[in-house]
Amino acid sequence: MKTRAVLAYLLLLALLLVQALLAGLVKPAPGVPIMLLALGQALVLLLGLVELRASSALVRLFAAASAFWLLLMFSLTLGELLTR
């Protein structure tokens, strides 16, 4: 648990550094790669530090349901703007 947590933490810091470098060096800072890095950080946090994998199926279902709701809300709302 401890080793995995420390590795996950180092990976999180590395991803943060890449994000900051992209924002500082590339003009304009590319939104899609920066947000994909954020998504990667979220997955590392959930799998490396929160132990979501070790939770019961019902707990994972709750977590997945909130993620599905966000996906639905973002895709249906921003879909209109992005396809104009």
Binding site: L13, A23, I34, L45, L49, V50, A65, L70, L78
Partner: protein, 215 residues
């Protein structure tokens, strides 16, 4: 209370069943929190896509390096909470208390950094209330800053709650009022809260400071 005296609440058969109910209830609460901040993030992205030039004007004024440092503080706090939980499960009360205090201090560091940032932004006229000094020309850019203030202040309140919970837990451990590993699930629930508040920031930070900067 000692570890041997830790008993489940009367509606549960054993501590394991109680811990499972705690986890499920906590996830339900955290799912509602995620949905609330999800709505705010959606508003921010709707603004950004509807007014790209104006939000780029606002983004150019943000103190993004300060926010990057603050993000590192929160991530380090998450590591401390995971290590605190490991110590709780191993029954290492002293180690548990140490990690909890470090996490609480990191949370306070985040709040101090955010306060400095708000102070700078107010002086520069970026926040509501000091409009005459604002370098932002368009109304849409100022509106983006209003949503920025709402989102970060709400997140800051969550960090403050996390600091109080973690500090309270460390104090209870120090007084011997939290037997570990029997009550490690209490540490687990507060660690979960910390991680989700951290997770929300992982999306607020690039949305508010990084993506599209310098356009």
């Amino acid at each position: 209370m000692t570890a041997s005296e830790a008993r489940p609440a009367e509606q549960f058969e054993d501590l394991r069943q109680q811990a499972e109910a705690d986890r499920l209830g906590m996830w339900l609460f955290l799912a509602s929190e995620t949905m609330m901040f999800g709505g705010l993030l959606l508003v921010l992205w709707f603004y950004r896509l509807s007014h790209p030039r104006e939000t780029a004007e606002a983004l150019a004024s943000m103190h993004w390096l300060l926010a990057t440092g603050n993000t590192a503080l929160l991530l380090t706090g998450s590591l401390c909470m995971t290590l605190a939980l490991a110590a709780a499960r191993e029954g290492e009360a002293r180690v548990l208390r140490r990690w909890l205090w470090v996490a609480a201090l990191l949370g306070l560091g985040f709040l101090a950094g955010k306060s400095v940032e708000y102070g700078l932004e107010f002086q520069e006229g970026l926040l509501p209330g000091n409009d005459p000094a604002s370098p932002l020309k368009s109304g849409a850019a100022r509106l983006f800053m209003n949503v920025y203030l709402t989102a970060t202040a709400l997140h800051g309140v969550h960090i403050l709650v996390a600091v109080l919970l973690v500090g309270g837990l460390a104090w209870r451990v120090g007084r011997g009022n939290l037997p570990v590993p029997a009550k490690a699930v209490t540490v687990e629930m507060i660690a979960l809260y910390w991680h989700v508040v951290d997770l929300i920031w992982l999306f607020l930070y690039p949305t508010l400071y990084l993506a599209g900067r310098g356009a």
